[in-house]
């Protein structure tokens, strides 16, 4: 790190869990963030400010007026622009040292498999079941840790799925054909509820990148922000899930 980096990251360097070594790890880390909406906005901004080396932000959608209530990586001037590009620009403005790449495409198929293979960690800040299952599959195949978040109403949840350790997203939600789901479009969402969950995702991503233990590994945190009730419960590895035995620990990484 040069002098400016030592200054920029000085408050991280003071933390015993980060320090110069941890900050170097973050500066060398590559992260894929899928979704630049209510969860992805704060996650992108905090990961960039934290000095994650490479941040790839994927979102096929464009900024719409109803997004601005909570999707804080976009401003009013960004209406109609690609969310991936708008969020990438905000992240770069916060920290020009971060290599930010905008991927204005849907995360699916061979493209997603390639994206996942090129990074150290994936964050699922998407807003629908098909993308969530696709990300789970891509991370299983590539052996990448997956930080998963979701929000609706006043409630949010976060889980960390790690290669070879515990259940996967499909163990949690085995019925891929499920019709009934709580989305922000259907039931609304409190603006900072999305922010809270997105920030929790950034916290968990940094812990994984730093090699720190997380209490959420293989567990699901559910937060009811109206009642301020937070619950953490273990995710059972479903023996019938195709993931069983499929986690392939990445040999060139100790994440």
């Amino acid at each position: 790190m040069d002098d400016r980096q030592l200054q920029r990251y000085s408050r991280h360097l003071l933390l015993p869990e980060v320090g110069p070594e941890g900050q170097e790890r973050l500066l060398a880390a590559r992260v894929l963030l899928v979704g630049a909406g209510g969860l992805g906005s704060p996650a992108a901004l905090y990961l960039a400010a934290s000095g994650v080396g490479e941040l790839r932000i994927a979102d096929p959608d464009r900024v719409e007026l109803e997004n601005l209530q909570r999707q804080i990586a976009h401003g009013t001037a960004d209406l109609g622009r690609s969310k991936a590009r708008s969020a990438a620009e905000s992240a770069r403005a916060l920290n020009p040292e971060v290599q930010v790449q905008a991927l204005a495409e849907r995360a699916e198929g061979a493209r997603l498999a390639a994206w996942a293979a090129e990074v150290d960690l994936v964050l699922d800040a998407s807003d629908n079941f098909p993308t969530r299952y696709a990300l789970n599959e891509a991370c299983l195949a590539a052996g990448r840790p997956l930080v998963s978040g979701a929000v609706a109403g006043w409630r949010g949840q976060v889980a960390v799925f790690t290669p070879g350790r515990g259940g996967c997203y499909r163990c949690l939600y085995p019925q891929e054909e499920a019709a009934e789901e709580a989305t922000c479009a259907a039931q609304g969402v409190l603006s900072p509820a999305a922010g809270t969950v997105g920030c929790l995702m950034a916290v968990e991503a940094l812990k994984v990148l730093l090699g720190l233990e997380t209490a959420l590994r293989g567990k699901l945190l559910q937060a009811d922000l109206l009642a301020q009730r937070w619950r953490v419960a273990r995710i059972r590895q479903d023996p019938a899930c195709p993931c069983a035995g499929r986690w392939r620990a990445r040999e060139d990484s100790n994440l």
Binding site: G35, V151, G156, P174, A178, A182, Q222, R234, R236, D238
Partner: protein
């Protein structure tokens, strides 16, 4: 035996109550059987998250007296 049942988010609205204690006459009733009983025979919604004593589990889990069963609807918003 008594089982404490808790409903969260839209499950609470659907059931019209946040929690209840259900008395059943035998050990070993499954979560699915319990659901049918509290939901008037309706099928379980897909991807309903079930936690028994703060651990997520599936609907075939057998229950014993004093267990706490919680039902959460799936959340996918982002």
């Amino acid at each position: 035996m008594n089982i404490k049942v808790r409903y969260f988010a839209s499950m609470r609205d659907r059931m019209g109550r946040a929690e209840e204690t259900v008395t059943v006459d035998r050990e070993g009733i499954t979560v699915e059987e319990l659901w049918r009983r509290v939901a008037g025979g309706q099928e379980m919604p897909p991807n309903l998250l079930i936690a028994v004593n703060m651990e997520y589990t599936d609907a075939s889990r057998q229950l014993k007296s004093g267990d706490e069963v919680a039902f959460f609807p799936p959340v996918t918003g982002g």
